[in-house]
Symmetry: C2
Subunit: 358 residues, 2 copies
């Protein structure tokens, strides 16, 4: 069948019953066409075969379920599939394909499940000198219960993605709708901002990367949170504010939230990059040194990864075990057979959200 979400009536990409995916591209002048994409779809580049009328095609091995980035490499040039909508990943717009999962209802809209809404939230950042756009999910009853205030989860995308990732690729809005409808999760607001920032004027003697990390921390704490609290009916105490992120966003979450426990009591790292030489006593300015103190402040430390993303899984497990050895409780979640990809993070959010604000 044509992949769900193809543009118009496009016949390709096509999903086969074994979850392999067929792709086509018309490129009569091309000498060599290759399919590239996310780890759960194409481990390495797949050469495409030229057929009649200059139409190139290829069928992948069975893919992991869920969303996968992909693109064509035509004589060395990245080309997007006209049959696909675009998704921001790898620092650019790429094509994407959704491979059905037997367990997919939790991220699909369903009749009868009350829907929250995703809103664009624009705010001017003095720190960067630029307008920024966040996406904000408000739960289903937000419009009706006009005196109710809600806890907030700040949820970050990964490197190369942007503030639309959790909506378009992650479908966070539908995941929350389901969890809230079944009373599995408390109604909450999600804030999905871009994880990038650069100081309007960079401080002297700093490198671009560390400055970007610091600039985002500043934007988050001094501009985004106040702007959200001023614009939405939020609960503003630390016990009602969570921070989570995937991959680079997981690294940012650990770096920022563990440093600002006066602002966040719930912390989650999804497929965070392994930290070299993680030492419980010294990591994150020694926040793990006093387990009792840590547990009084941090209501949840959640760590997760897919079982197919070896390096990230090893780092995540290693951190969980080192923490356990030092008497620090954390939740370890693993997503079966998924790699460093959105199906891991959809499942992560499904596991994480019900644990928040309890």
């Amino acid at each position: 069948m044509p992949a769900p979400g193809n543009v118009g009536t496009a016949a390709y990409p096509r999903i086969h019953s074994d979850r392999s995916v067929s792709f086509q591209l018309k490129a009569p002048s091309a000498q060599r066409v290759v399919l590239r994409g996310g780890a759960g779809l194409v481990k390495d580049a797949l050469a495409m075969e030229r057929g009649e009328n200059g139409v190139w095609s290829v069928r992948t091995p069975p893919a992991a379920p869920g969303f996968h980035y992909y693109w064509f490499e035509v004589d060395g040039l990245n080309v997007q599939d006209p049959a696909s909508y675009s998704y921001f990943g790898y620092g650019r717009e790429t094509s994407g394909v959704e491979v059905p999962d037997v367990d997919s209802a939790y991220y699909q809209p369903q009749p009868g499940v009350p829907r929250g809404s995703v809103r664009e939230h624009w705010y001017f950042s003095e720190i960067t000198g630029k307008w920024r756009r966040a996406h904000v999910y408000c739960p289903p009853d937000y419009e009706r219960k006009t005196r109710t205030k809600y806890p907030v989860l700040y949820l970050l995308h990964g490197a190369g993605e942007n503030e639309r990732g959790w909506v378009e690729q992650g479908r966070a809005q539908f995941i929350l709708d389901h969890l809230i409808a079944s009373r599995t999760a408390r109604p909450m607001i999600l804030v999905l901002d871009s994880g990038y920032a650069a100081y309007r004027q960079a401080p002297a003697g700093t490198n671009a990367w560390s400055t970007a990390i610091a600039a985002f921390e500043d934007v988050l704490l001094r501009e985004l949170i106040p702007s959200i609290d001023a614009s939405f009916r939020t609960r503003t105490g630390r016990e009602d504010r969570a921070m989570a992120g995937l991959s680079m966003g997981g690294m940012q979450t650990l770096g920022i939230a563990l440093k600002h426990l006066d602002r966040f009591a719930w912390i989650a790292a999804l497929s965070a990059p392994p930290r070299q030489g993680f030492d419980v006593a010294t990591a994150y300015d020694g926040v793990f040194r006093d387990a009792d103190r840590f547990h009084r402040q941090v209501r949840l430390l959640w760590l997760g990864a897919g079982t197919a993303e070896d390096r990230f899984l090893a780092g995540t497990k290693g951190m969980h075990e080192a923490l356990a050895g030092a008497g620090i409780q954390s939740v370890l979640f693993t997503s079966p057979d998924t790699d460093h990809e959105w199906q891991t993070w959809r499942r992560s959010l499904r596991d994480l959200a019900p644990r928040l604000f309890r």
Copy 2:
């Protein structure tokens, strides 16, 4: 300067002071690279020149201000610019560039101007058998004045575009923010849906095009409007409901709204395709035959086009004049020096919105 809205710190496209635009693409293996795009940017294809390291470049003549679609044609294949975000047009994702206008404040966010918010609105369509996503703009005070109900403008995109066009390319949300802040327009809700629909089961003996028109009409009247009225605090009388659209959407607006005056009292066609053999007496089932009756029902008939889009301007003027000859009042708006492109439609919305719901 790099074009506003380039991905990250991309240096190209670059805008020059005469509004010409330079583009670059690295394509070492290419034999021929051509720049294509919207009428206000490249009238015909512009051949690009190969420079060092396989980087191709070109500088356009001075472009019209505003948003322009563009893409590269590399040896006959459409290639999007990795330096650009994607915008849905031409039935596929394309690159886009924003050329500054001296008169641009009205579609830019400004500190101090209260912001409305754009929300995704998902609804299941029994008529098409599919979930549909509309975008809905709610005015700045929507969250605070929780007893206030608002009039609604249904605003359609053009052929090849989709429900994000008025937000991403048109910046309708900022235009309305400004008009509402200055009390030039009444606070209103905008509904931006996809103009495409296909019956779950197509009626026998119909062709695809006429069926698509009818299917969209059905979706709009029987599903979208009820869904919006159930989900937002709308005023639901015909005097509080407007319909407008650009190009194909203008054609749809005239076809649907003039047929359903029990639902719409305010009607606008932006750069609608010229109608062959427009005859006041017979057009649109004779709705213009009785001018008094028409004026009692229709509070506004607004027609507009850019002065550089010859065919659309001629059709629009011709219709306006023929109506005037038959005693039917309509507003004629022209956008100086702009073609069949978004700057025409941004200006159109700025002129139109203040006239609605008065």
